[in-house]
């Protein structure tokens, strides 16, 4: 933002005619050092660098305890084992437990899949409606509804999944039991609808009007314009919105902890309860896990896996947007 320009040109020296005089010869380069400015800039840089420090802190806090964890548990056993009995048995012993993390991972992915089945059609439908069909007045009323939905605390969603949605679904699909993966999955789907809808709507609104007008001029109706012109043009933004929705669902804690129970179970049946990765972390953290015990270390192992998964998902999303972004 600093102005660094020098203009040194007076009457032309070479010819005998005068060119337009271009102002006095002033050197606008900074004359003195301003200490205040430098201190402030240093503070601003520091604040921006804090985010890097936080990332490094996250990586260190998650990965440092892993050396101890993996000196007792094989990496293969952890990643591919199908039984997780860390919460049981002798608290101080490494040997009487099964350390296969797959049950937690499958539970997370079953609930994420259910959430996506709810959130993708609803979110994209809402986005297309708001961007292509709704009048400005309808938009003004409907957009705050999405914002309110986004603002409801997840612990409230979890409580509703447990006390209202589960009994309702139990009646419809004929299953008993307090915990299941269906109810938290569906409620979590509604939780990520605002994310998917508002980001996709941004992407669709960014498609220039000229493309729509061209489509109309060729005789396409509104549906064809939306589906064949606007949707493909906004695809990178839409995919990024869905991917961000996935990473929010994978990392969501309260709904899956409250709604799906605390029983690690390797199952794809959504009418059964099964503990997710975040659910395990929350359970261990709210119970007692003495520092240095096997259970305490397992918290960091599951946390690292969760962090790496969401990081991977997020990098895919950023890459997709960069690669397929069309600048109009």
């Amino acid at each position: 933002m600093t102005v660094r320009q020098t203009r040194r040109s007076g009457p032309s020296a070479s010819g005998d005619h005068f060119v337009l005089w271009q102002g006095p010869s002033v050197d606008l380069t900074q004359q003195r050092r301003r200490m205040g400015e430098r201190v402030i800039k240093a503070f601003l840089v520091g604040a921006a660098l804090l985010s890097v420090v936080v990332t490094v802190g996250i990586v260190v806090s998650l990965f440092a305890p892993l050396t101890e964890f993996f000196s007792h548990v094989g990496i293969g056993e952890f990643l591919f084992g199908t039984e997780w009995t860390v919460g049981f048995g002798n608290k101080a012993s490494w040997d009487d437990k099964s350390w296969g993390v797959l049950p937690l991972v499958t539970a997370t992915f079953v609930m994420t899949a259910i959430a996506l089945l709810v959130a993708v059609p609803l979110g994209l439908g809402a986005a297309a409606f708001l961007s292509e069909y709704a009048s400005p007045r309808a938009r003004k009323i409907l957009k705050p509804i999405l914002e309110i939905l986004a603002g409801i605390p997840t612990v409230a969603f979890g409580f509703i999944a447990l006390t209202v949605v589960t009994p309702l679904l139990g009646n419809i699909f004929q299953f008993n039991g307090i915990f299941n993966m269906l109810a938290p999955g569906i409620v979590m789907g509604f939780m990520i609808v605002p994310t998917v809808a508002s980001l996709s709507e941004d992407a669709m609104s960014a498609v220039p009007l000229a493309l729509r007008q061209g489509s109309y001029a060729l005789g396409a109706n509104r549906m064809k314009t939306t589906v064949r012109v606007v949707f493909p043009a906004a695809l990178s933004g839409i995919v990024a919105a869905i991917v961000l929705g996935i990473s929010r669902a994978v990392g969501e804690t309260m709904i899956v902890t409250i709604g799906a129970g605390l029983q690690p179970k390797m199952t794809l049946d959504p009418t059964q309860g099964a503990q997710a990765m975040t659910g395990f972390i929350a359970q261990i953290a709210s119970g007692d896990a003495p520092e240095g015990s096997p259970v305490y270390y397992s918290l960091f192992a599951v946390g690292s896996l969760l962090f790496l998964l969401t990081l991977l998902i997020n990098m895919i999303s950023i890459r997709l947007v960069r690669k397929y972004r069309q600048a109009y």
Binding site: A48, V52, Y133, A156, A285, N314
Partner: protein, 297 residues
Amino acid sequence: MTTTTVSFGERLRSGRRSSTASMVFTAVLWACMAIICAFLFFVLFTIIQQGVARLDGNLLDRQPSQIRPETAGVQSALFGTLWVIGLTAVIAVPLGIAAAVYLEEYADPKRWYNRLIELNIQNLAAVPTIIYGILVLAFVVRGPLSVGAVVLAGGVALALLILPVIIITTREALRAVPEEIRAGSLALGATPWQTTWKQVLPAAISGIATGTILSLSRAIGEAAPLILVGATTFITFNPDGVFSRYTTLPVQIYTLVPEDRDAYRDLAYATILLLIIVLLAMNAIAIWLRNRYQRRW
């Protein structure tokens, strides 16, 4: 010469081949929006219906009780929430705005380190909230700082959590300020910081305030990271400083889940209702600010 008049208008507007498909499509889009609205009203209705009975003076005046849930309150959690959020705002707002000002007003976006910071903030915004709990558990509650499970730890956890959100929304607000304002200020001899402080920031204040309030309201409803930094303890006193033990409203709701007596369920719903009222009020302020002070250049 004969002129042929083709009447497009009518045909273009209505008589198309796939008008049924088109109508079904419109109906489906309407249905999507209707289902979302129905779900929101269902959630709000459930919370109000179940919670309104216990939303009384006892809820605000009394402390949590494991013996008499019928008359117990959540005062310690209410004050805990106020303390934690106050601390969160004090930490996150100045740092977030400062980082955004650097990235938007000072940084050269072509430099690799600035791009790294940017990518890093994008990633941090998508890190699961519970991971921030692990971070603060490892560095603040235990480890180097070892302050224990106190208000300070909760405030730091939530501050780090909303920092990327504040940075991103503040940058958007700064970007909306037109370049001419900066150029005019610099041309009059103001230094970069004077330009930022006296021209750019005041011009962007409504966008910054809206984004900040929305991210703080997100922090109020957050329970996951606080579970890790010790908010789940049973507390029946109000915190009196940043080094006091604490609990917050969302965590209080979470601790009521395993209890299966109806009185606990009523208490939990009343607490949710209280929390929602606070959040809706904050959202309303943010929307009002946006409509009242938003400037289009």
